[in-house]
Amino acid sequence: MTISMITRRGALGAAGLLALAPGAASANPVIGAAAPDFSLPDQDGDTRRLSDFRGKVVVLEWTNHECPYVRKHYGSNNMQGLQRLVAERGGVWLTIASSPAGEQGYVTGAQAKELTASRNAAPAAVLLDHSSVAARAYRASVTPHMFVISADGMLRYMGGIDSIRSTRPADVATAEPFFRNAFVEVAEGRAVTRASTPPYGCVIKYVGA
């Protein structure tokens, strides 16, 4: 009896001491857990919240239109095709531009509309995350970085758009389309086979970084 009490005490004391060690981690987004909510202005200046879209499958696409990896997927029309697929299946596609002013990929609302028109893109909205708040909440690291959120607001997919880490448009045809597969599985209410894949692309320019 006494001994077990001492042991517990000793262990508690040790835990207290060890907690002093540095390295407490910041939270990662977790597959199967509630996707972090955000509130961002869109290309017209209207505020959009993730929670506004509850009941629909939501896709988040982090972008920087000058990034060669993003250009690979817009130049080959792969991204526009995926945007139309999501719209046809009743999903909501949110393109998020997290570059702050003065950095590559920074866009105003007017420029975002111009890019959508000139690239024949079809997102439901382009959201301007100039202070990197949404990027931090999702730990978005690159452009393009893709996320799929199911109708009940849970995070179902995070990672790369496909399997071939390159800037060559020709690789789109031969790559395994990780994001597309995950979206279709979520839209059809099935479990996602590969819920977290390596994202690839240009590093996201965070405010203050």
Partner: protein, 705 residues
């Protein structure tokens, strides 16, 4: 690139300009380069890139190396195999003549390149990626060996630019291979030294939830030998790349705390590179592989106890201290007086119990802090505690023996009992606090044995773990009194002081004798029978000293004390001999002869080439070099073929003659490798990161000149 360009719509123009420029540069690179070993550069404002060979001419059937060489403008970087949170490693596709083959691209160990909350793994400045190429045996001397290399690389600063180049090398085929000029060979040697090496380390890795750790165990790792370390996993998503990796170093093992990354499942085996900066500031990178399992626990060197067990034993040890003849009567007295108190005073009693506990625990923490401080000072001074050193093991065996003899009653340890009496006599919480401290002091004669065991265990632990062990011991010791303060009724359960206390104390001597016997066995494994003889001779002297002191204590004579002190001194005099005792097997392989200026001069006078290895027991870079480069079959063969003498200088204790040699070669510390060619001349200084290839190149280069 600037966003203003995009705003003005100039960007597309700028991009097409860039593209045109790149095509032009590629065309330039394709232009024939007469006799050049290095192709013309593909140049951008960000990077200057070439392909270079380590031979001016190659022989049929030979293996040689080419390399993709990147010189990057300040602020720009390229990437390792696992680029971290963004980026992409360079790629190179070779077109080789019929019958030729090439190996995989060798990446240098990466640096951490932080970017806001993200972390990339890559290179700044200059990066050299080598590829081994085999020339077919039927290549005709006089012909040319053409290599076409198509390379892609991503170069990033705040923006990322993909670049590419097509390079062509035409290397003459000759009957005898012609190595490249010294600068080029130095470039390849540096690339080889920068590549992660196979290392004599074993690794364990595990996660529980988000938190985890990797533990790397192997020779040379000790609290004084490692300054900094970082684990770079090869697969994506194993770790959170930007999370700090808090380090704990114990004797023989190094632990880095990890935070789990975004991959859903861990691979069956996690391969990676651990970069270790040693106490002298030399960075070495080592390949490690670990099958994910339980989280490696801090301070749990392979032969040590898990931390929770060490804490449990420490607390139990502290509890047993209360049963010692010099502590228990006080406890029993206190218990009786507490039991007499009326209910009204109980609240006050609890506060007093808390003060007493604090006094005991703080005293133990002070002792632990002193120990940790001494050890840190020792590490700084270069004589890091080595649990594996024969001197330490023999000293511990004698300490255990001395403790056992004390418990057996052969002699007593005088406690400074009166010192804290007046402080403890004070009223109030300060009085209780000092009573706690006094209890620790009073108990010294009996606690010393257990303290010795705890100190021994704590020497092999990290600072925080060692302090935790001491705190646990203090809590264990304070527990009965604290429990009595909370529930005075428990006093009825206490046995009466009596003869049983002495019997218990004497009985506890036997585990101590057992520990001493075990340590002598460890010594026999480490250093062979001469060390065992020295240790046992020392044990006899310790026994004599204990007896002589005991006689003096009972009869008051002075002679016994002097004789005892003399015997202890004699035993300690045996210790330095132990460290010089030959260690069996593998250590002898790379040892060579001991270095001295005179021996070096004599060998050079004979006209023999000499290889000098300046090393130290606590230098991890030295130990790894000795295992992976000096003690290999290939190196021994070269030394034998060329009749090279190996002289080893041991700087473990800071030999001033070796210090002078280090200074003469602009070095502050070891390792230092010197090769004195036959027939005189200045020695060649080898890099601090050694490989078999570098040793061979150095010897061959000087041999041919």
């Amino acid at each position: 690139m600037d966003s203003r360009l995009a705003d003005c719509g100039l960007l597309p123009f700028f991009v097409s300009m860039l593209r045109a420029l790149t095509i032009l540069l590629v065309a330039l690179a394709l232009a024939p380069a007469a006799g050049a070993l290095e192709t013309p550069a593909v140049t951008s404002p960000r990077a200057t890139v070439t392909v270079i060979a380590d031979h001016d001419a190659v022989a049929p059937g030979q293996s040689f190396r080419i390399a993709l060489r990147q010189r990057l403008a300040p602020g720009w970087h390229t990437y390792w195999t696992n680029p971290g949170d963004a980026g992409q490693p360079p790629e190179m596709r070779l077109t080789l003549p019929e019958g030729a083959s090439a190996g995989a691209m060798q990446f240098p160990a990466p640096e951490r390149i932080p970017f806001g909350p993200l972390m990339n793994f890559g290179y700044e400045g200059e990066a050299v990626f080598t590829i081994p190429v085999n020339v077919p045996a039927d290549a005709a001397p006089g012909s040319s060996f053409p290599i076409e290399a198509q390379a892609d690389w991503l170069v990033c600063e705040r923006v990322c630019i993909p670049e590419e180049g097509v390079f062509r090398l035409d290397i003459p085929v000759a009957g005898t291979a012609v190595p490249a000029a010294p600068e080029t060979r130095a470039l390849f040697a540096a690339a080889e030294a920068a590549a992660p090496r196979a290392a004599p380390f074993t690794a364990r890795l595990g996660f529980e939830g988000q938190a985890g750790a990797i533990e790397v165990a192997g020779p040379g790792i000790a609290p004084g030998s490692v300054r900094d370390a970082f684990f770079f996993p090869l697969p994506w998503g194993v770790i959170d790349n930007a999370a700090p990796q808090p380090m704990t170093v114990t004797d023989g093992a190094l632990r880095l705390g990890l935070t789990r990354g975004q991959a859903e499942a861990l691979p069956a085996q996690v391969d990676g590179v651990i970069a270790i900066t040693d106490a002298a500031g030399v960075r070495g990178a080592y390949l490690v592989a670990a099958a994910p399992g339980a989280v490696p626990v801090a301070g749990a060197a392979p032969r040590g106890l898990p931390l929770w067990q060490a804490l449990a034993f420490a607390a139990l040890g502290g509890l047993i201290l209360n049963l010692m003849p010099c502590v228990f009567p006080i406890l029993a007295m206190k218990a009786v007086s507490l039991a007499k108190l009326s209910g009204a005073a109980r609240g006050g009693v609890r506060a007093h119990a808390a003060s007493y506990t604090a006094g005991v625990v703080l005293s133990f923490l002070a002792l632990g802090g002193l120990l940790v401080g001494l050890r840190a000072a020792g590490g700084v001074a270069g004589w890091g505690f080595q649990f594996t050193s024969p001197v330490f093991v023999a000293a511990m065996a004698w300490l255990m023996l001395a403790v056992g003899l004390n418990l057996s009653g052969v002699y007593a340890v005088g406690g400074p009992v009166s010192a804290g009496g007046s402080l403890a006599g004070k009223g109030g919480h300060a009085g209780s606090f000092f009573t706690g401290m006094l209890a620790v002091l009073v108990a010294t004669p009996c606690t010393a044995p257990f303290m010795a065991a705890a100190i021994g265990a704590a020497l092999g632990m990290g600072a925080i773990e060692a302090l935790a062990v001491f705190a646990a011991m203090g809590l264990g010791m304070a527990l009965p009194y604290a429990a009595l303060g909370v529930a005075p009724g428990l006093a009825r359960l206490l046995p009466r002081p009596g003869l049983w206390m002495d019997r218990l104390k004497q009985g506890l001597a036997f585990p101590m004798y057992g520990a001493a016997a075990w340590l002598v066995w460890v010594l026999s494994e480490q250093a062979g029978s001469p060390a065992v003889l020295a240790a046992l001779a020392g044990a006899v002297l310790i026994g004599f000293a204990a007896w002589a002191i005991g006689v003096a204590q009972s009869s008051g004579g002075r002679v016994g004390r002097i004789a005892g002190a003399a015997a202890v001194v004699a035993a300690l005099a045996l210790l330095p001999g132990l460290s010089a005792a030959p260690r069996p097997a593998q250590a002898a392989v790379e040892a060579g002869e001991p270095w001295s200026e005179a021996r070096l001069a004599a060998l050079r006078a004979e006209g023999r080439p000499v290889f000098v290895n300046m090393t130290a027991a606590w230098c991890i870079t030295c130990k790894v070099n000795e295992r992976v480069a000096l003690a290999t079959e290939g190196t021994r063969q070269i030394f034998a073929d060329r009749n090279i003498a190996l002289l080893t200088g041991d700087w473990t204790r800071g030999d001033p003659a070796i210090t002078a040699v280090l200074r003469a070669h602009q070095r502050d510390g070891v390792p230092l490798y010197l090769f004195y060619p036959a027939g005189g001349g200045a020695p060649r200084i080898l890099p601090q990161i050694l490989t078999e290839g570098i040793i061979r190149e150095t010897i061959n280069a000087t041999g041919s000149s």
